[in-house]
């Protein structure tokens, strides 16, 4: 029955099927290294069709130096050498038809029951896996760098809260060594009073009710000092059993303290600056208050004399009393303006029109300008967007700039003492520009202009511009000096536009 396959044929066909269906490449060679079988998987891996390579030496499939040495490897093994690869399997480099080299896993077996002897190679292309491994390693290294170099504390912890890894910033923050920390849990670091809050947040995380939490906590350093931290914790790792916690810790106390300190210092300085500026203006202000007081006392004493003489004309007395009342109000007005300026209060930012701030400064500055026979002209742009500022602090800066300008112009003849104040919308925000006709700032002074204790005045402390600069910087703006086109000094305040008015 020629149509009935023989048993051998049946077995052969069955193996053929297995070989063809294999995921790994299978290459069968004889003892001379000549390829006899090349399965479809091998075709895919190496890019050769089976008929192209069957009958050729297997060294075709490998790069130098293996390629030219391969016959020698077989001979050495057949001559009784110990196997280098047979029965072991290892990672080698293969060569595709297009010349491309790639990593592959190779397992070689010997077919003992065939004569002549044959070898079978099982090949798995691992180039993709290798690429992924390399990408993962790079990513891992990247994360490691971030973790180790982060300025904030970071850790990973098991679901029980015990630390798995801690970064150097956390070590520095807490004062414990890394090995010590790895013996601890978040809870152990937390101040007794804050443990309840942490545990509640923690349960929410572990129970899967939430994926992350933020808590303000007080932790104890190794030296017993309390650190205020903000802990952000999130669950990672998918399933609850394999999950872990990633924690980020910000040393809140340090930030809060330094911010508070610098803000307080700034406000203290601003207050000193206001008082100093007023001190410098004291003579002008005293004069301004003294005028109405003088008028009041003179009017009153005149009334007394007239009445004592019995020659008082009712109408004259009435007019004089009215004049007294008006002068008392005038004195009160000056006092009100000073009080509004000098009062020590917390920084309070509000959305205001810079023009209004400048107008209120001019009320007070007018006294000084008049006393020193200086003229102030203004050019305030209408419809400017609002700025978010502490109006009193900005007043202080403006008054300081006006004061400086007047001082600088005192050597000029009276009619030419001119200060021009302009507001406008610039590229970086709302600008106030103060231009005087004084001598300007000497080149040598310019660099240190905004540093403290720099002054050209005999009685000046040299704090004004330094304070002004720090106030404007704290508002996110800038205070710059430039020479005025016609000579003289020009100071430009730039303040960012309040967000609500954009």
């Amino acid at each position: 029955m020629s149509s009935t396959p023989s048993r051998f044929d049946q077995i052969n066909a069955r193996f053929r099927g297995v070989i063809d269906a294999a995921v790994d490449g299978i290459v069968l060679i004889d003892e001379n290294g000549v390829i006899e079988t090349f399965n479809p998987a091998a075709e895919r891996i190496f890019g050769y069709q089976a008929q192209e390579v069957i009958g050729r030496n297997v060294s075709t499939l490998m790069p130098e130096p293996d390629s030219s040495r391969h016959d020698g490897y077989i001979k050495r093994y057949l001559a009784g050498g110990s196997p280098r690869i047979i029965g072991i399997g290892r990672e080698v480099v293969g060569r595709r038809r297009n010349g491309q080299l790639f990593p592959m896993e190779l397992a070689v077996g010997e077919l003992h029951d065939l004569e002549p002897r044959h070898f079978v190679g099982m090949v798995r292309d691992i180039s993709q896996r290798r690429a992924m491994e390399q990408a993962l390693a790079a990513r891992e290294q990247e994360l490691r760098l971030m973790f180790d170099g982060a300025p904030i504390g970071m850790f990973t912890a098991g679901l029980d809260g015990s630390f798995n890894e801690v970064n150097p910033a956390l070590v520095r923050m807490l004062g414990y060594s890394a090995p010590d920390l790895l013996q601890m849990r978040c809870l152990d670091l937390t101040l007794e009073a804050d443990r309840g809050a942490l545990e509640r947040a923690y349960r929410g995380l572990v129970s899967g009710m939430r994926s992350s939490f933020n808590r303000q906590l007080r932790w104890l350093r190794s030296d017993g000092e309390v650190v205020s931290v903000e802990l952000h914790a999130a669950v990672a790792g998918g399933s609850m059993s394999a999950g872990f916690i990633i924690g980020q810790v910000i040393d809140h106390s340090e930030r809060v303290r330094s911010e508070l300190e610098s803000r307080e210092a700034r406000e203290r300085l601003a207050h000193v600056g206001r008082v100093t500026t007023l001190g410098e203006m004291a003579s002008a202000i005293a004069h301004e208050i003294n005028q109405p007081l003088t008028a009041i006392s003179s009017y009153a004493q005149a009334c007394i004399r007239l009445m004592n003489q019995g020659s008082a004309d009712q109408q004259l007395l009435l007019e004089t009393l009215q004049a007294i009342a008006a002068q008392a109000l005038r004195a009160g007005d000056v006092v009100r303006r000073i009080r509004g300026f000098v009062g020590h209060r917390d920084s309070d930012r509000e959305s205001v029109a810079l023009n209004d701030v400048i107008a209120s400064v001019l009320e007070l500055a007018a006294i000084d300008a008049a006393a020193n026979q200086a003229q102030i002209s203004t050019e305030l742009a209408p419809d400017l967007p609002a700025v978010l500022v502490d109006p009193v602090q900005i007043q202080q800066v403006c008054l300081n700039l006006i004061r400086n300008a007047i001082d600088e112009m005192m050597d000029l003849p009276e009619p030419s003492r001119l200060l021009h104040i302009e507001t406008r919308l610039g590229e970086e925000g709302v600008e106030a520009v103060f231009t005087d006709v004084g001598p300007g700032v000497a080149a040598a002074m310019r660099e240190r202009l905004f540093q403290p204790f720099q002054t050209t005045k005999v009685e000046g402390m040299g704090m004004g511009l330094s304070i002004s600069h720090s106030i404007i910087s704290a508002h996110g703006g800038s205070l710059r000096y430039s020479d005025a086109p016609q000579g003289g000094a020009r100071f430009t305040i730039t303040l960012p536009v309040a967000l609500s008015s954009v």
Binding site: I296, A302, R330
Partner: protein, 202 residues
């Protein structure tokens, strides 16, 4: 001697201070004229008028001090009382060196002000009287002939007639005649009076 008409001139740029001060001074029974600037006063100022100035030290335009200097330059001898604010001490010192009668700090006590004003008016009266006397004496001395003047100078210097005669190459008799003329023309009744007159006439 008829009563001298004296005026208190107030110069202050502050209308309230100026008006109230003028009223106060008027209520003291004095004659007042008020000006709002140094220039306003200087443009109408008459050196012949007697009185005093009450002057604000700190004024725009020409300050009180500058005005005082201008008065000195123009040889207007009106006594000046400065009214000053607090902290103008150095200015006040300068003013006193230039011959101000006084300075008064604002606000002022009316009696103090009145005393200062009366003192200033007195100073002006005395000064004017002295100037008038000096002018009279000078005009009398001007009546002397050159030779009589030579004789007078030597008499006042205390030289005897004999010495004068030798020095001027005159007879003692001629010196005696000149001496009599000097006494008559100057109106001096004694040698002592003549010496005083000559000294006063400068």
């Amino acid at each position: 001697m008829t009563t001298l008409q004296q005026t208190v001139f107030v110069v202050d740029d502050d209308v309230a201070v100026r008006t109230s001060l003028a009223l106060l001074i008027r209520s003291m029974g004095l004659t007042v004229e008020a000006f709002d600037s140094a220039h306003a006063f200087l443009s109408v100022c008459d050196p012949e008028r007697s009185g005093c100035l009450v002057l604000d030290i700190r004024m725009p335009g020409m300050s009180g001090l500058e005005m005082q200097e201008e008065l000195v330059r123009r040889a207007i001898g009106l006594p000046v009382i400065f009214i000053t604010g607090h902290g103008d001490v150095s200015m006040a010192v300068r003013a006193m060196k230039l011959g101000a009668v006084d300075f008064i700090e604002k606000p002022f006590n009316d009696q103090h002000l009145l005393d200062r004003i009366n003192q200033a008016l007195e100073v002006d009266r005395t000064a004017r009287a002295a100037r008038a006397e000096r002018a009279t004496l000078a005009s009398r001395i001007d009546l002397l002939s050159p030779r009589e003047r030579e004789v007078m100078e030597r008499i006042v210097a205390g030289q005897a007639n004999k010495v004068i005669a030798i020095e001027l190459g005159l007879s003692e008799r001629t010196v005696e005649i000149h001496r009599a003329k000097v006494m008559t023309k100057t109106g001096a009744r004694s040698l002592a009076e003549l010496v005083t007159m000559v000294n006063r006439a400068g």
